[in-house]
Amino acid sequence: MMPRPQEKVDFTLTDTEGEPFDFRARTEGYVTLVFFGYTYCPDVCPIHMANIGAVLDDFPLEVRSQIKVVFVTTDPERDTPERLRLWLDNFDTSFIGLHGSRDEVNEIQVALGLPASVIEETEGGEYLVGHSARVLAFTKDNLAHVAYPFGTRQADWAHDLPKLVDERWE
């Protein structure tokens, strides 16, 4: 549970088809899981996405169709929309991938009460991306009452998501 529910913020980023995605308009009426990460991430990002994807597979369509998963890249230089699509399709082809400039994305994260991502250069021209490990879960009231940390297990998602769809949280 969040100490205080987090409100949605207005932003428009580019989806993996290259089309603008108006977050508030397109997620209205859905349970929306929002996560900021990058595709070169070794474990935190793919495990979150894989766990959610695996659990959604087991839900009946009527539950699944009320949930949207939005992944926003914190590494826009390397995560092209095409690469994002390829990566997300490993977990669930319905996952939405969003792309914007680092500044735009950082601004959104801060507005959502998450820390901005940090980019650090390493030797050899590589760089690493630090990012929040939490998934924000917005319900149909357009508030996130719950944020899920890294380490959330499939059993937790399977337990919680249908409740969030039913507007229940605790």
């Binding site: 070794p42 935190v44 940090v118 490990a133 939490r134 940390p149 380490g151």
Partner: protein, 170 residues
């Protein structure tokens, strides 16, 4: 009679000598080195270029050891990485060595340590197996067999090193 007494005494002296010799051996033998590497899992590379490897090292010996390097024919580069936590932000940083204390066990797991396999030389699919060589400061080279697994199976097969997020009580 005298002869028999002599023999008795002689064997007692011999026994004492053996005991002393054994004591000397155990005192002078360099520390016992006994490392066991188990549960070697590699995540299926989602976009083909990199994969994370996890395993457990059990040190049954009586000297601290250090994992210095990892190599495998499956990747050009293998780096030991640690995930650093700052609040809910996570980022991975390379480390030079990983200590395995005498009598202790180190589990590489998501959110903690992993070995990053970069520049993969072959396609890896779930259930593929390949050898990895771990080089320790004292134990030298240990070869173990790695198995490729899907990200959604990581929580069950590997678990996690960061299953709680102190900044977020969910």
């Amino acid at each position: 009679m005298t002869n028999r007494t002599y023999r008795l005494r002689h064997s007692a002296i011999l026994a004492l000598a053996v005991t002393i010799a054994l004591a000397c051996i155990s005192r002078e033998t360099p520390e016992r080195i006994d490392l066991e590497v188990s549960r070697v899992f590699v995540t299926e590379p989602v976009t083909g270029e990199r994969a994370a490897m996890y395993f457990s090292v059990t040190n049954n010996g009586d000297v601290d050891d250090e994992l210095l390097a990892v190599s495998t024919a499956a990747a050009e580069v293998a780096e030991i990485h640690r995930t650093e936590h700052e609040g809910s932000t996570m980022k991975m940083v390379p480390v030079d060595a990983l200590t395995v204390p005498a009598g202790g066990r180190v589990d590489l797991a998501p959110g903690g340590y992993h070995v990053m396999l970069l520049e993969l030389t072959q396609n890896l699919f779930p259930d593929d197996r390949f050898d990895v060589t771990l080089r320790f400061r004292h134990a030298g080279e240990v070869v173990a067999r790695a198995r490729v697994i899907r990200y959604e199976d990581v929580e069950e097969l590997v678990g996690g090193a960061a299953l709680s997020d102190p900044h977020n009580s969910r």
